[in-house]
């Protein structure tokens, strides 16, 4: 749960209109605080939260595809879970993205730990992190074409497993 001090600082720096979560679905669980930031300003907010509000630990970076979600307005929602290692305050930063512009600024300059986390989001959802030092696929093979955690990708895949290129002894 974020302190009111943090929210006050955010209000003083950015005003209130941009980051208020409002009535977006799905809502946050009770006892959890989150802010919603505009796509173009994500890096600015994260930097402010890290340097001025003491959120020094990036716990997790992930994404949700809201394609089939009832009453959802946006396609993708990025999730940044932040924590303060001394006060154990927590904050979830959301950023909603829509096709075709699936680009946000990378958080790697702020936290080294964002490197692999963002690579996984890129691999699974196809979100591009601008300024990432090494944005390659991480869990799936490099020649994989889809982003499997998107909701329009079927559970059993599109036959990649059966058509996987086999290296023969002569080729190798």
């Amino acid at each position: 749960m974020a302190d009111t001090a943090t929210l006050d600082k955010l209000k003083a720096r950015f005003g209130e209109a941009d980051w208020k979560a409002g009535d977006r679905l799905p809502s946050a669980s009770p006892g959890e605080s989150r802010i919603v930031v505009p796509q173009s300003q994500l890096a600015k907010y994260l930097k402010f939260l890290k340097t001025d509000c003491g959120f020094d630990l990036l716990v997790d970076v992930t994404c949700v595809d809201y394609l089939h979600f009832r009453n959802a307005k946006d396609r993708f929602g990025l999730v940044y879970c932040l924590a303060n290692t001394t006060t154990s305050e927590r904050l979830i930063v959301r950023c909603y993205l829509n096709e075709p512009d699936l680009t946000v600024e990378s958080a790697v300059p702020l936290w080294e730990g964002a490197n692999w986390l963002e690579r996984e989001v890129y691999d699974m959802f196809g979100i591009v992190f601008g300024g990432h030092p090494d944005l390659r696929r991480i869990l799936l093979p490099d020649e994989f074409a889809d982003h499997p955690l998107r909701k329009d990708y079927p559970l059993r895949g599109r036959g990649e497993r059966h058509n996987f290129h086999r290296l023969t002894r002569e080729e190798g």
């Binding site: 992930t62 999730v79 924590a83 696929r137």
Partner: protein
């Protein structure tokens, strides 16, 4: 994978460098990695200049499966994530589900879950430190530790019938209450374990080969640990005092008296020491939880409609029969709010969290797992840079990377 190789190469190698530098492929099937992971190493003599991890060999789409199995079914998949401490994964998963549903489980269930997570922690640390010692030339300690872990496995078998794939938790409770057989067996183990544990410590703490191969190797400073999102024993060995059990007490951890073990050095040896001391603290917690185990039901009331009611209720009351059907019928089940939550526990390996999105049905819309192994393995190239090839196993062992959780 040519691309992993290309990425590990420096941009413009001079001709002298090329003469001395060569590439070594380590894994994915190498006994010293213990699990399936691959490293592409750039080596000058015995020194590692650059290491590029190539992961994904065990990727099985656990998060995608989480969007198709219901909350009680998915617990079987969490067993297979970090198979060294499956009980901790079970508890982490259902804690997250209960947070999403707004259920608070009874005190007895919370205490039992605490006992199980701490047993999982002991079993994890025994294997991690034992395997690290095995790789760095101390075979005997490994056998002692592994033998104790075997007894724990037997204990888990008494608990739920399975050694690894425990799946013991349910939404709103447990599969069933602890049996008297389990409790007496646990008490017996708690009596014999400290003597063997002291032997393991004596075999390693001043073992010159082990100490010299781990001290000063893979140093992680406090600032780096925080910046690289390290949690758990690895962060605490570097001086980060964060422990979710103390900082955000969940599951009644505030009732127990225990210490958070920290160190400032941040090398492989101190990661080993922190893990060993955590075993002692876990024993303290288990003793307290076992002695003060509250009476009462382990599961939430059947009115919550998440858990199967008692058979006596089902057969003798109409309400029990209705709630039984409400849970088992495919077109009923329980309902989740249109909400999302992040919930984490202090698992043996670090912060194990789940980000859940509920869409009304009893199947998660999104089941993200925050895997500590994945985040810790990302630090590996940084930790090994400049060390010798033989130090790779020491660093890998002290990070406790479990490939099934790494790749999910």
């Amino acid at each position: 994978m040519a691309t992993a190789l290309e990425a590990s190469r420096p941009d413009t190698p001079s001709s002298e460098e090329l003469d001395y530098r060569w590439t070594l492929n380590f894994g994915p099937q190498h006994p010293a990695t213990h699990t399936t992971l691959r490293l592409v190493l750039q080596i000058e003599g015995e020194r590692v200049v650059e290491a590029t991890p190539d992961i994904g060999y065990l990727h099985s789409g656990f998060e995608k499966i989480g969007e198709h199995l219901n909350f009680n079914q998915y617990v079987t998949v969490t067993d297979r994530m970090n198979y060294i401490s499956p009980l901790a994964n079970n508890v982490a998963w259902h804690n997250a589900v209960e947070k999403l549903l707004g259920i608070e489980v009874p005190k007895r269930c919370q205490y039992i879950r605490v006992i199980l997570v701490e047993l999982a922690r002991i079993s994890d640390h025994l294997l991690c430190n034992g395997a690290c010692a095995l790789d760095t030339g101390a075979f005997t300690a490994f056998l002692y530790a592994f033998n104790e872990r075997e007894k724990l496995m037997h204990l888990f078998e008494t608990l739920c019938g399975a050694r690894f794939t425990t799946s013991y938790t349910r939404t709103g409770g447990l599969m069933y209450d602890l049996t008297p057989a389990f409790i007496s067996e646990l008490r017996g183990w708690l009596k014999t374990f400290p003597a063997v544990f002291a032997d393991v410590l004596r075999l390693l703490n001043r073992n010159r080969i082990f100490v010299e191969r781990t001290k000063g190797i893979g140093v992680l400073t406090k600032a780096e640990a925080i910046s690289r999102s390290a949690t758990g024993p690895i962060a605490r060995a570097s001086g980060v005092t964060r422990d979710l059990r103390k900082d955000q007490p969940y599951m009644s951890y505030q009732d127990f008296d225990f210490n958070v073990i920290c160190s400032k050095e941040g090398d492989c040896f101190h990661r080993y020491l922190v893990r060993m001391d955590e075993i002692t603290e876990s024993l303290k917690i288990i003793h307290q939880a076992l002695e003060n185990l509250p009476a009462g039901p382990v599961n939430v009331d059947a009115d919550e409609r998440t858990i199967l009611p008692d058979k006596s209720k089902v057969y003798n009351t109409i309400e029990g029969l209705i709630s039984h059907f409400e849970v088992v019928m495919t077109n009923r089940g329980f309902q989740t709010p249109l909400a999302e939550c992040y919930s984490a526990i202090e698992s043996p390996n670090g912060e194990l969290g789940f980000y859940l999105v509920g869409d009304g049905s009893e199947i998660a819309y999104r089941a993200r797992c925050r895997p500590p192994s994945y985040i810790h393995f990302a630090m590996f190239p940084h930790l090994i840079r400049g060390h010798l090839v033989s130090d790779i196993v020491a660093v890998l062992g002290s990070l406790n990377v479990i490939a099934a959780e790494l790749d999910r």
